[in-house]
């Protein structure tokens, strides 16, 4: 930013000949040049550089409607995540490179990407663990809006279909009384509560890819989290089981374990789906 005063001076000198648009473009060009020089210096300084192959697609811009891959060389430093690398590429090479990110610490679930053939969180994946070139694509089985951004609407629809909120049959008498859960029960649903709605599991699921109505691992896991919560009561549990045991509910799972493999929060999704299958069977078994 030390160059700022300098540019102002040149602006003043040329103020008669240059139109405001020209001036703006001139500043932009200079800034781009400076950035290019800085990138060059940083790449020279870095002990190691890595190559990103990033999926690009923009249906709204002429010439970008055809999907393609862009290469970005980024300086590597220890501890660098895929998200760091993408941010570097966006800030130094192409500001139109689009991807979702927010918390940068695997909590918000915004940056699930298809990295080197696997669904992973960009912020949780170390560049150092991957082989060059690092291929970064948007999540498969979801429509691409632009570059690495996919349409999550269908995923959210499935999540909402299982009514993902705490809804007990009875509330305590006292107005502000807590609804306590036993430590054992809390432990039982602990892993299921960790879902961050990133959509990696849904994208990895072969069944969900072919069957649009299938609830998918994330939604079923959500249903599990509440169906197994003892505070909700028997009536609510029956309603929840009715949702998950529909034709496109738990029974579509064919235990390929893809979701469990890719879950960034290590939720045993297949285990939860299987348990709900057993719950549904037990619920419908009649011995008279």
């Amino acid at each position: 930013m030390s160059t700022q005063i300098e540019t102002k001076e040149t602006e003043d000198e040329e103020i008669e000949e240059q139109s405001p648009g020209e001036r703006r473009r001139e500043i932009k060009r200079q800034r781009a040049e400076n950035r290019a020089k800085r990138v060059e210096a940083e790449l020279d300084e870095a002990e190691q550089t890595r190559r990103l192959k990033v999926f690009r697609y923009d249906p709204e811009v002429e010439g970008k409607e055809e999907p393609r891959f862009d290469d970005f060389i980024v300086p590597f430093h220890k501890g660098m995540t895929i998200l760091d690398a993408l941010i570097y590429a966006r800030d130094h090479y192409d500001s139109s490179l689009t991807f979702r990110h927010s918390c940068r610490q695997a909590v918000c679930g915004s940056d699930a990407l298809f990295i080197n053939g696997k669904q992973r969180l960009g912020c949780k994946t170390q560049v150092g663990d991957l082989e060059d070139p690092i291929r970064i694509e948007p999540l498969p089985h979801q429509d691409v809006v632009k570059d690495l951004v996919v349409d999550m609407e269908h995923f959210y629809d499935q999540m909402h279909a299982v009514e993902p909120f705490f809804d007990p049959d009875e509330t305590p008498d006292g107005e502000l009384e807590e609804q306590r859960q036993t430590p054992e029960n809390r432990e039982y649903v602990k892993m299921a509560t960790r879902c961050i709605w990133c959509g990696a599991c849904m994208s990895s699921c072969n069944i969900a890819a072919g069957d649009n109505e299938y609830l998918g691992p994330a939604a079923i896991n959500k249903a599990y989290r509440f169906a197994m919560d003892e505070r909700e009561g028997e009536n609510r549990k029956q309603e929840r089981l009715r949702i998950i045991e529909q034709e496109h509910g738990v029974w579509r799972c064919q235990t390929q374990f893809s979701c469990t493999e890719v879950c960034p929060k290590d939720i045993p999704l297949t285990e939860h789906i299987q348990e709900l299958k057993r719950e549904a069977v037990k619920n419908n078994l009649k011995f008279w």
């Binding site: 298809f114 269908h154 390929q256 299987q274």
Partner: protein, 131 residues
Amino acid sequence: MSQAYDRGTVEDFGRWREFSAGMWAWIFHKFTGWVLVGYLFTHIAVLSTATGGAELYTGTLQGLEALLVVRFLEIGLLAVAVFHILNGIRLLFVDLGFGLDQQDRSFYASLVLTGAIVVASVPTFLGGKFL
């Protein structure tokens, strides 16, 4: 989900190198299942010759067993059946909720066991042809 354009090999079988153990188990189980269904029809066809008399049946079987390719097909059939049984047991445990964290190892175990049984069966199936 419908794709607005062709995303190439993103989501097809061309990515088989990236498949995990559970995925392979599923593919093999499907494949062996279909092979067994197909075999059922030839099995019925061969056994039905018994309705045409004992001699026809014996003749058919002897004729088939005389062909080297049939001997190899039999080894293949055993491999397919053994894998399907072993992986079926694995799936039973998965359904009952036992050892889901070991599902990849149990898949590899069923593969290794299938291989061992098939190799051990080779002398029996090829008996009289080479030995």
